[in-house]
């Protein structure tokens, strides 16, 4: 399954708007490509992403095949206090990848 990379600040001021950059290594097979014999290659994409901070929802997204290979997603949110940013990607085959980043409010 895919490997996720996340760039997030380690520390932030309370109420600061931080930007998180995420990238997953994934082929995002659209289901429209054909193999050498002219058969469609079955669709296999990451269809959902969600991020929560301290249990509260930040963003949840659904992805369609029009999202590029190695899906990149950048988002921003306001950090209320020290907590864990938990990100989760869901594949078409049901498998998930999770990544947690702790942001400390000084």
């Amino acid at each position: 399954m895919a490997k996720a990379r996340v760039k997030a600040p380690k520390t932030a001021a309370a109420g600061e708007l931080v930007t998180i950059k995420t990238l997953v290594n994934h082929k995002m097979e659209s289901g429209r490509r054909k193999d050498g014999d002219g058969n469609f290659i079955p669709r296999k994409i990451i269809n959902a992403f969600s991020a929560t901070f301290g249990g509260e929802s930040v963003v949840s997204a659904t992805f369609e095949p029009a999202i590029s290979t190695n899906p990149y997603f950048q988002f921003s949110f306001t950090v209320p206090s020290t907590g864990d940013l938990v990100m989760k990607w869901t594949d078409d085959d049901g498998s998930t990848v999770e990544k947690t980043k702790t942001i400390t409010v000084a």
Partner: protein, 140 residues
């Protein structure tokens, strides 16, 4: 009103402006309209209110960077009007989330990229940007 030379010119230029205006309005395909309708629940969608950044010309349709920012939005949907299926992604923002994001998308060819947002007050806004694509990104 007698048709003097001055009047004729004024009429002519007014007619010219009228014919030009619809060209600038965004005309979505039927598929896209259906998706927008499903998203908004049939509510009226007003133009403007979203910051949508796309490249004017994308050399490679496989990865086209798209950035959106819709301050105060609860949900944002991105559509590619000229793709085999118009959907690209839908984003639901929680209480902490800032209604902005940046993604990379596939475009089959030169077309309009559309962003539709549901604002906190329940109204819907949309913005469309044309992207010229040199090489399409949908295989085939």
């Amino acid at each position: 009103m007698s048709l003097t030379r001055r009047n004729a010119l004024a009429l002519g230029s007014a007619a010219f402006v009228v014919t030009l205006v619809p060209l600038h309005a965004f005309a979505a395909s039927e598929k896209t309209m259906a998706v927008i309708k499903a998203f908004s629940g049939g509510a009226a969608v007003i133009d403007g209110g979203i910051d949508l950044t796309t490249p004017e010309i994308a050399e490679n349709g496989n990865t086209v960077p798209v950035q959106f920012s819709a301050p105060g939005a609860k949900r944002v949907m991105i559509l590619a009007d000229g793709n085999p299926t118009p959907g690209v992604g839908t984003f639901n923002f929680g209480a902490l989330g800032d209604a902005s994001g940046s993604i990379r998308i596939r475009l089959a060819g030169t077309q309009d990229v559309v962003a539709i947002a549901e604002m906190a007050d329940g109204s819907y806004v949309q913005v469309a940007k044309t992207v010229k694509v040199t090489i399409g990104g949908c295989g085939g």
